[in-house]
Assembly symmetry: D2
């Protein structure tokens, strides 16, 4: 079941242009959430002098991970636009190290899906929290293939 959902998550992400450009990939997906990777590259740098990752790259990663988790958690191919999201930046990401996003579906109602996401790096075998996010998605009853 989880393997099927990892495939479903990967398929969803593969058609998002910004994800392919940035090289985001799905590591794992199941009914509770997804884990994604954003490799360190020049394209996600916000400060050329320091090599520090742009906040916008992290936000895009988290928004994508939460949205993918929603898509995977719901049956069929239901598309839910982001209603709102809140991001906290907790630590400058370490240059050269990949970013891992762990998105969790916290609750599904008939009208809203509540999610959460943590982004971290593995530095010397230790997990370092970089940013976190809470995001809510609207269930508007659209399936992929129709206009969003």
């Amino acid at each position: 079941m989880s393997d099927t959902l990892t495939v479903k998550a990967s398929r969803f992400v593969s058609v998002l242009p910004h994800c392919t450009v940035l090289g985001m990939t799905v590591l794992h997906g199941d009914e509770n959430g997804v884990q994604m990777s954003l490799p360190y590259s020049e394209q996600i740098i916000g400060n050329p002098a320091s090599g520090v990752v742009a906040g916008g790259s992290l936000t895009t990663l988290m928004d994508t991970a939460c949205g993918t988790a929603v898509f995977v958690a719901l049956p069929g191919n239901e598309l839910c636009p982001t209603l709102d999201l809140r991001v906290d930046y907790m630590r400058a990401a370490r240059p050269g190290s990949d970013l891992i996003a762990q998105a969790t579906v916290v609750r599904v109602t008939t009208s809203v899906v509540f999610t959460r996401c943590d982004v971290y790096q593995e530095i010397n075998g230790e997990r370092k929290e970089v940013a976190r996010c809470t995001a809510n998605f609207m269930r508007i009853g659209k399936q992929i293939g129709g206009a969003a």
Copy 2:
């Protein structure tokens, strides 16, 4: 004074790679805030079928506009990383129409700068709110040229 600050804002934005890629420009800047434009293009589309703008593009626009407003409002070249931001998406952006961001500096303290941003489109002479954002920035005492 305002003209000087519009120039200061434009200079700040011109070195951010994602802004030049997306074609973001500063329309106006003064001590209270900045107005920026994100032209409609294929690069900001989230749903190829419908042409609807990606939420991530809007978030990037708002994060950039707020950050630029902070840079312009503070003396010198002080760099303040984003501490947190919250985004509400209120309406799907109309395909083909540019997006205008109006970012406002609400309050400056010795440790935090509070900002707000509204994104709208002009549709048939009417202002249509698309998204809004509140963002707080940390004053860490760094000047451009040092590592962020």
Copy 3:
């Protein structure tokens, strides 16, 4: 019309126990928002040593003002629970001075109402921003009299 809506707002607030306890009153209401007052009193103090107002009192004021603005902006007696809210505290409230909340309805859709609120004090004829809030409310189709 506005007078009718001020009355509608006052009626709504009058049945909320915590509002009567704290002495919150409606100053004005119309289709765009409401203005409410929270008088300074011992009950809203968070720090007995300094007399500084508790953050929770401000949050309650803003949540109430936004919810009242939603109730007033919608026809009939539609009740919308809070979906989420975000509060930023910008300055310690001045002891002894009343707090004014200005809540605005930013957008009404069929499923969500978006609001914003600013809280300030008038100190020596100057408006001092104390806190701000964005809050979204769900339209669940309930009218007052039914169970919320």
Copy 4:
């Protein structure tokens, strides 16, 4: 150590007037967070007809739990005002059942402490999420006894 910190948490909460009025108590405290209880009572009801708990009561519970967790996690008696908080209401609280708040300190920096809180009820042996919160606190270097 944990027992000492549970006592430190309880002492902190005992001087907050709104906590004693509402009957909030500390169940446990350690360096990672605190667990608090808000008993069901008439005072926390938002809708007299349905007996549903007021959103403001939940927000107060979460703000208090996060603030207490910060106080417990830091050495000495350092007081940190709330900088911002975001609350998501996920489910109407069940009348008659106590509310449990689990607040966690996610990261401590020299200027900000990042926290998170989940509120749930135990219904028939099952944990039901009611609301969640993320809150950031400023480290302004004040100790209890000084003015906040």
